[in-house]
């Protein structure tokens, strides 16, 4: 196992050392101190523990089209856009995440054990985003595909201009965004949530009591009838 001190090495050298690890490799990142762009753009099947709080874009651009990639655990909180444009692998944040968690992520799994701030899962494109706590306002904005699970409460404007992503909320919803609707849970949904809850280790969520939010599909094509909804 490799221990990399971010303070001593700097961000670029840390990422180069991570990139050099073969499949099955393991690394610990020490003293991240809110540093941005750690563990980005990695494709190998390695595991990385980050011992402290990380900054923006943690684990972004990682993984492969087949869904494989690094497994990253942050023992702390993270800044904006954790797992941005993730393709595969996983990112688990033991603390909370700032804004735009999982933005534009195409594959892989992002688990936030604490709360996620505003615009979690914005423009999600196929990845799975599981949040143990609350999600801030405008979460799921324009999410195109993939799944968002919110273990706590959702803020205002949930799922605004949603496409085909599905959102499951265990707690309350302050308000839905334009073109987002609450739809009935199917057996398939229940199975999906059960798996998500089990994989994320979110024992506090009862899969039979979540609310499903999807797109009403009224805003896909511009129609003068829907003018007021834009």
């Amino acid at each position: 196992m490799e221990s990399l001190n971010c303070e001593d090495l700097g961000t670029r050298a840390v990422n180069q050392r991570l990139r050099a690890l073969p499949d099955g490799g393991h690394a610990r990142l020490l003293q991240p101190r809110g540093r941005h762009n750690l563990a980005v753009g990695l494709s190998s099947r390695i595991s990385i523990d980050i011992e402290g709080n990380a900054g923006y874009f943690l684990g972004g651009l990682g993984g492969n089209r087949d869904g494989t990639g690094p497994d990253i655990v942050v023992n702390g909180f993270v800044g904006w856009a954790v797992g941005e444009n993730l393709m595969g692998g996983s990112v688990r944040v033991r603390g909370s995440a700032s804004q735009s968690a999982g933005s534009s992520a195409r594959g892989g799994t992002i688990v936030i054990e604490g709360d996620a701030s505003l615009r979690a899962g914005i423009s999600l494109k196929g990845a799975t985003l599981a949040i143990g706590g609350n999600a801030g306002a405008m979460s799921g904005f324009m999410a195109q595909s993939g799944v968002i699970l919110i273990g706590g409460n959702a803020g205002h404007g949930l799922g605004d201009s949603l496409y085909e992503a599905r959102i499951y909320v265990a707690g309350s919803i302050d308000s839905l965004g334009s073109d987002a609707v609450i739809t009935e849970m199917s057996d398939e949904d229940l199975l999906t949530v059960k798996e998500l809850v089990s994989d994320a280790g979110f024992d506090h969520i009862d899969p039979t009591r979540v609310t499903k939010v999807t797109s009403a599909r009224q805003l896909y094509h511009f129609s003068t009838h829907n003018h007021g909804a834009y």
Partner: protein, 303 residues
Amino acid sequence: MCGVIGLLIRDRALEPQLGSMLVTMIEALDERGPDSSGIAVYADHWSGDIPDAPRVKVSLGSDEPVDWGRLAASLENRFGETIRPHPFGAGLVVEVPPGGEHGLNAVIAEGWSNVRVLATGLNLRVLKDTGRPSETCARFGVAGWEGYLGVAHTRMATESAVTVLHSHPFVPTKDLCVVHNGSFSNYATVRRFLMAAGVQFDSDNDSEVAARYLARRLQQGDDLEEAIRWVMKEMDGFFTLVISTANELSVVRDAFACKPAVVAETDGYIAVASEYRALAELPGIAAATVFEPRPEEVYTWSR
């Protein structure tokens, strides 16, 4: 971008470290605002002060080279030695009895038309300069400053020139500082309204408009939170604003929380910054309560 910083000391034992704490925060936000910077420091004790007759500190600066020594001598000549001119950062600070700043302004306007008042305050001194903020800190020994409250800004200019006078913080009235990360879209309209009401501006910076609007609301009798709510109501745009008075520190973000902000609260201090990086080196940060201010919520801490 731009970086905003506020640091309110609660544990008086930390007051000698105010400057060094500010410098770690500024250095971390150097790349958010490499053009220019400004640092405001509030301190209780001034060697020249008579305790029951505190003097108004006037921080002077300019966009052009100024012979500060000659200005200091000229002011001393006119007002006497009690004005205690001393170099501060790239400019000069002088001290006048309360109300004396008007006479001072007249003298400066007569013979030193390129000199501007950056700040006035009983407890406040302000340094502004162009160039890398971390280098400015090193050049002027900011780490050695003592005080109970500091506000700083690292600027990446987007809407007006990079000069000393365009730098934050803006100090529109005694002991009130405003630093801003973001952009206001209707500032020209608000500016015209304020100018029609007789408010004078030192720059064409959008943030200065918010600062002067805030000062006007305070002068009309609002408390700090009310005045900040008026800024949110009347000014359209993106902002994280860090605002200070002689005994309060506030932070507020726009409705969409477009610009970042993080707060660390400990028994010893309240620290506000654009990013957590700026808090990571502060003493006792591991035990701090760290959170992000919610959009449109006004957070205010008092001494």
